[in-house]
Symmetry: C2
Subunit: 465 residues, 2 copies
């Protein structure tokens, strides 16, 4: 298996690789919204067909209490090591729709400043259909050219964007079937197209929905204003109480388990290429905003956060309505760092949120989903194989980075299956995942397809030593 | 003109009076929402037809830059005094629709604890179509029985719920046509069906919409969380800063012009019948909530307020989305008391809101509409006529009260037309105006039709002295 040979295959099949991915991107597999249920199921079937076509055996759509998990495998020799490829075929909701420059489920290739050779614009192009499909096409290459150097299993789920609540049960029930030596995941990114990176740390997540109830019905703000608790004002005051003037989170005990890095580690981390001016310019920010005494790189990697992801209540239509709403709502998420425990943090949030509520309102906190933070080893065979493969395709040794995002299943795999993951993703932070105009560089998509077979090659070779 | 005679007429025509009002209530004249434009215009035509049928002359639908004003008159003798009846045919938006027990534009009569003889459930039943139509039917009675004792003019507008922005211009341009000795308005309420009241004070209103912009696009909360300003968190913090721990509004200068009542006046005001237990029970409140050192009666009448009427931003659909929104919005209104100036207060709000915004966000404040607070005289001929009429129909002298609501046009009429208003309304605070299940007692509707001709009678008699 040589890089040149892989590259020739990729170039020869480039258009087909794009066309096939586009087929997947056209199906709106939004797992959060029940109205897309049939589309999510249809996507699972499409992924199954693609795996079968690429040469996988025992491909099946495994039912769960939620959306199904697509499984497939190719066992060439039980004595050889096994790589379990994980990914997800569900996507984030596309709204706000009016900010998309093209339809979220009508993929098109457009050039951008960071993607002069074009990027695929569609919901899921980067997160995670595009990255999943790199594995399917890399597998196709190895099958067609008879060079698969070890065993491979695929587990592609449909509930990652809503908390993977049935994946743990599936893993528990299929430990033997899922047995592997390493889990390979492409759901993260590199620093830039000429600065490869491998993610070695991920933040955990605690996600809750809160409801504040004032009076038992909407009231006229003239007749009742000033005398009854306005649940929107109260919710705002409660949210404001979650942070102090230094943007430090005020939930008692919140930082107790946070891993504090040494001055050396922090200095090392801050040597990564980063321009504050460019960062502010790209987002049109008057200023950055975050926890005092930490840099932007630190704030997005080694520090926990508390963000309101959505808020609503009262009259939100055109014009003016003088109403005091009965209820106000917010969706709030906290990103967690090693060694915070998401269940513990969710409980702490709940207790604190309830404790800051005045007697004049009723409060309900509903946990949505969560995941623990992880740090993956950099001295493992799998990490070295990924690093060697990327160095060969990018011409530069990748930098180990901690990402601010969460892939909660990494901790789950370690706990339930006892297997470490390697996070070899090819996206860019600027790819607007979870946002309007999500896109994925054609360069990145093809680079992934080139790199993955080399990972298999080096992983098999290094494991054999 | 005798009460008994009026009552007989009302009883004989009761079903028709209800049927005709129902016709008006079935038209969804929501002025705030452009999609109801045709319905609002249709309502103006319907009001015109009703006035013509009742016997008014020169009835016309007068165009404005917004929704038209319906005018009509009956001049029996230029030497006699003239009463200008003001009301509005537009209504508040009906949402949240799911909380209505019957369709907001499908009027039905249902019994309630406070309305054992039944109440008309429909948007606008009390505010203000039902109260406007009392005047049309009272006028019909006086015309049919040839007992109209003075001149009458009608001015029924279609933009009261969105700030009456074109009414001032119309008044300026039609001063001669609108010339009158008193303005009679039924858009307020009584204390209970056995405790009549006349409103002598109204709070003013300043209504603004605010927009807070963080990053220039929605961002993934994992990749950016902790490092950029989340506009929802910031908006909440800014709203929280609008009040201190005593629920005192913190906008500099906000209370400068507030009229402080004497201890005697406050004691007098607090002698009005009011049960805190019943108030809390009716609204299912764990506790009341408001400015420290003031009673509920004071908080809703002589003290200004700041309430968020609506808030929105980020993901508000089902499930979880880990997004940092680019923008967050709120609609905020302040109720004002004598002698606060709504333009001045709006400007103060704007300055303060901008001043508490961190550099990391951009802020936009858009004034919606406003109105100055008013206190009407209790020693005028018009007040005495209203008081005498109500005492005759209710069997009890009405109590002069200050209402927490706003009828901004009262101040406008005084300024532009130089005419005082008398606020003789027949609703109850519990009628749920601006809320789901708005209703208006059949008792109150008919009592209004009985009382209005007596107001005309006493006003003509007392003016002649």
């Amino acid at each position: 298996m040589e890089l040149k040979h892989i590259q020739n295959y990729v170039q020869a099949n480039k258009q087909r690789f794009l066309d096939e991915l586009f087929e997947l991107l056209r199906i709106p597999s939004v797992s959060a919204d029940p109205k897309f249920k049939a589309d999510v199921l249809r996507t699972a079937e499409a992924v199954k067909e693609k795996l079968v076509a690429a040469g996988a055996d025992k491909v099946e759509v495994c039912p769960t209490k939620g959306f199904p998990i697509v499984y497939g495998e190719k066992i060439i020799d039980p004595k050889l090591p096994t790589v379990l490829v994980y990914g997800h075929y569900d996507v984030q909701p596309p709204d706000p729709l009016d900010l998309w420059t093209s339809g979220p489920f009508e993929p098109v290739i457009q050039k951008t400043a960071l993607h002069p050779e074009g990027a695929i614009f569609a919901r899921g192009s980067c997160d995670d259909k595009g990255q999943v499909y790199m594995h399917v096409k890399a597998f196709e290459y190895m099958m067609k050219n008879n060079c698969l150097p070890c065993n491979v299993k695929f587990m592609i789920e449909g509930e990652e964007e809503v908390g993977s609540s049935n994946l743990g049960i599936y893993c528990e029930q299929n430990k033997e079937k899922l047995k592997a030596d390493v889990i390979l995941i492409s759901d993260t990114g590199i620093i830039a197209n000429d600065v490869p990176a491998i993610t070695v740390g991920l933040r955990g997540l605690s996600y809750v929905e809160v409801e504040v109830t004032g009076p038992n019905r909407d009231l006229h703000s003239g007749l009742y204003g000033g005398a009854v608790a306005n649940p929107i004002n109260i919710l705002c005051e409660m949210i404001a109480k979650m942070k102090d003037e230094n943007n430090h989170i005020t939930i008692p005990g919140f930082y107790d388990d946070v891993e504090e890095l040494s001055a050396e580690d922090r200095a090392e981390m801050n040597r990564a290429p980063f321009s504050l001016d460019e960062y502010k310019k790209a987002l049109n920010l008057g200023d950055i905003h975050g926890e005092k005494s930490y840099t932007t790189i630190e704030r997005t990697s080694i520090r926990p956060t508390l963000d309101v992801n959505g808020i609503w209540g009262g009259y939100t239509g055109e014009g003016a309505k003088t109403v005091i709403a009965s209820k106000a709502y917010a969706k709030i998420s906290m990103r967690l760092v090693p060694h915070q425990d998401n269940d513990k943090i969710t409980k702490m949030f709940q207790n604190y949120f309830e404790s800051v509520a005045p007697k004049s309102v009723k409060v309900k906190v509903t946990p949505h989903h969560g995941g623990d933070p992880v740090v993956t080893p950099t001295n493992s065979v799998a990490y070295k194989a990924a690093s060697t493969a990327m160095e060969e395709t990018f011409g530069k040794k990748p930098i180990p980075i901690r990402s601010g995002g969460s892939v909660p299943i990494v901790a789950l795999f370690k706990t339930v299956l006892g297997v470490d993951s390697v996070l070899m993703g090819f996206g860019l932070d600027s790819d607007a995942i979870h946002s309007p105009n999500e896109h994925y560089g054609v360069f990145n998509y093809l680079k992934g397809i080139e790199t993955i077979p080399l990972f298999f090659k080096y992983y098999a070779e290094m494991s054999a030593k």
